[in-house]
């Protein structure tokens, strides 16, 4: 499941890429938005960067910036109509968005190369670039988390109606979360494209969406370290299980079930709640999907 990009990346780069994508998914869930659009933004960023770097011979910085902007703008456009719906509706609407983007990439062969994808993309991105990008995203998200904005996001996630009645203005914060998520996903899409020689639509479909979501939920949706831990585990686990050969995915699936059954709030959040003295932190959130 998490081996979508595996044939193309060394393990460290793969972990970093997954960290970035998981952070993009994390920031929307943190704000109480059940969006799964990250895979869609990623694919758009990847195609934008690949086309600009290959055909317009743009430099790596500009191509990545363009990928980021593509993700950002798409996310803002998507967020405006989606402000009307919540919970499962948001999830399925964003799933529809991902499917639309994907099938248009299959369809528009003149631009995207159809099912074969884009080839001969100049490889200009290395491990260092991806590492810097992950650190930058982490810094932005931690900074937001420590500010008043972070408390507002947490309040919305726990109970949107109470948050609104306390004077938290919900729509701009949802828009912010969407925009950040789109920008991060677009940027990492660009990094994926410029790190490999070729991209194809099949990499960015339902399996990618599911595995990014799995990283965040498995790692934990509240602490910012949740998605990082989730990305680490779900990327390294299949590699460790390599000697098991054909039973890999089987073990992987069983482990997913076992981990979530014993740590239902995700690894980081379950463990940190267990070690915290302050019982108020143990209060369960009322979450978006419950509505």
């Amino acid at each position: 499941m998490t081996g979508i990009f595996a044939p193309y990346f060394p393990i460290l780069d793969l972990v970093l890429i997954h960290c970035g994508l998981a952070l993009s998914q994390y920031i929307v869930l943190r704000a109480g938005v059940f969006s799964v659009a990250t895979a869609g933004f990623t694919s758009m960023g990847a195609y934008a960067a690949a086309l600009l770097a290959r055909d317009a011979e743009m430099g790596v910085a500009l191509a990545l910036l363009a990928a980021l902007v593509v993700g950002l703008v798409t996310a803002i456009i998507l967020a405006l109509p989606l402000a009307r719906v919540r919970g499962v509706y948001q999830a399925i609407a964003t799933l529809a968005f991902v499917q639309i983007v994907l099938s248009l990439m299959y369809y528009a062969e003149d631009v995207t190369g159809g099912p074969l994808g884009l080839n001969a993309i100049p490889k200009t991105v290395g491990t260092v670039h991806i590492f810097v990008a992950v650190c930058a995203c982490l810094y932005v998200i931690i900074a937001i988390g420590r500010s008043r904005l972070g408390s507002a996001l947490d309040a919305i996630r726990q109970d949107e109606i109470v948050a609104a009645s306390l004077g938290v203005s919900v729509p701009p914060l949802h828009l912010l979360a969407f925009a950040l998520s789109g920008a991060i996903a677009g940027l990492f899409g660009g990094l994926i494209a410029l790190h490999t020689y070729s991209i194809e639509p099949a990499q960015f479909g339902f399996p990618l969406l599911v595995s990014i979501l799995a990283m965040v939920v498995l790692g934990g949706r509240r602490s910012v370290w949740g998605p990082i831990v989730g990305a680490l585990i779900l990327t390294i686990l299949p590699e460790l299980a390599r000697p098991l050969a054909e039973n890999r995915a089987l073990i992987h699936g069983i482990l997913l079930v076992v981990i979530i059954v014993f740590l239902p709030r995700g690894i980081v959040d379950s463990l940190s709640a267990r070690f915290k003295k302050n019982p108020s932190r143990l209060e369960p959130d009322r979450d978006v999907a419950a509505t």
């Binding site: 109509p81 399925i92 529809a96 997913l256 079930v257």
Partner: protein
């Protein structure tokens, strides 16, 4: 020609409807998005195939597939969902555990089938067709629609005509209140998971017969279609699921007939997106749900 396309679309829609009925039953009663549901369809198809390959008649394949898929569905509930029910995290955690269950089932199927694509042996289904007002209706199509109709009628009688059904609806409304009144919630869980699994199993055999392919990844497209039908018909609405299944089949047939290949998916998902924005309760559902009010 158009009428023929529409007819084929309706038949396909019946299968979508059956699949979505079971998917929606679990969502409506328990609020769980069961991402392993596509894999349960695949299990049903394989169970039916094995039955036929061992020389048993086709009707028994449906029964075996329903039972096998029902049991798998119950096992998934026991292993992956039941332990989560005590925590308050079931909505998100169930996504992960059902992904895990899906991986286990598809990998097992891949191992057991050696990644091969199987076919029902030639002549499994008698090849005959009726011609009616210039339309060609095959025996298989009649069987598909009839099977779906019987299953749908069965579920309607079960939910609205029996005391078991009343218990199911009570648990869907409020598990706590139902338990206080003496309803055994665990038995309701077992029943609903078995029934929804059995529906996916039968749908699996129908899909296997209709396209004459059975392979380990056959469930995924139906899972995605299941989401579409869930929304178009209204979350938790069973009548809506059935109607939306037919509608999706028709739309797909029309797209295939009139649009360039490859554009039918964008059209269907764009439609889904619009429906969520304009009428989130679905085009068939009013705000009132058959089994559950979605927003508590």
């Amino acid at each position: 020609m158009l009428a023929q396309q529409l007819l084929n679309g309706l038949v396909m829609g019946a299968v979508y409807g059956l699949f979505a009925l079971g998917f929606n039953l679990i969502f409506g009663v328990h609020g769980i998005l069961n991402l392993a549901y596509g894999a349960i369809l695949m299990v049903g198809a394989f169970a039916g195939l094995v039955t036929v390959l061992n020389g048993f008649p086709l009707w028994s394949a449906f029964i075996i597939a329903a039972i096998a898929a029902g049991i798998v569905s119950v096992v998934i509930d026991l292993v992956a969902f039941r332990p989560l029910r005590r925590s308050n995290e079931i909505e998100f955690a169930a996504i992960i555990s059902s992904i895990g269950a899906d991986m286990v089932l598809t990998t097992l199927a891949q191992r057991l089938s050696n990644t091969q694509v199987f076919r029902f042996p030639y002549g499994t289904f008698p090849d005959f067709a009726l011609t009616f007002l210039g339309l060609r209706i095959t025996g298989l199509q009649i069987t598909i629609v009839a099977t779906v109709a019987i299953m749908a009628a069965g579920i309607a009688i079960y939910l609205y005509g029996t005391s078991f059904g009343r218990q199911v609806r009570a648990v869907a409304e409020s598990e706590r209140a139902a338990s206080l009144l003496g309803v055994n919630a665990n038995s309701v869980y077992l029943q609903t998971f078995f029934i929804s699994g059995a529906m996916a199993g039968v749908a699996g055999v129908l899909v296997g017969l209709a396209f004459n392919t059975v392979q380990f990844l056959m469930g995924e497209p139906y899972l995605l279609r299941g989401f579409v039908v869930l929304i178009i018909g209204g979350l938790g609405s069973l009548k809506g699921a059935l109607a939306a299944g037919f509608l999706l089949g028709l739309i797909q047939a029309l797209c295939t007939a009139y649009l360039p290949a490859g554009l039918s998916d964008p059209v269907i998902y764009a439609l889904l997106f619009l429906i969520i924005l304009v009428r989130p309760s679905g085009i068939f559902g009013s705000a009132v749900k058959d089994v559950r009010a979605v927003r508590q």
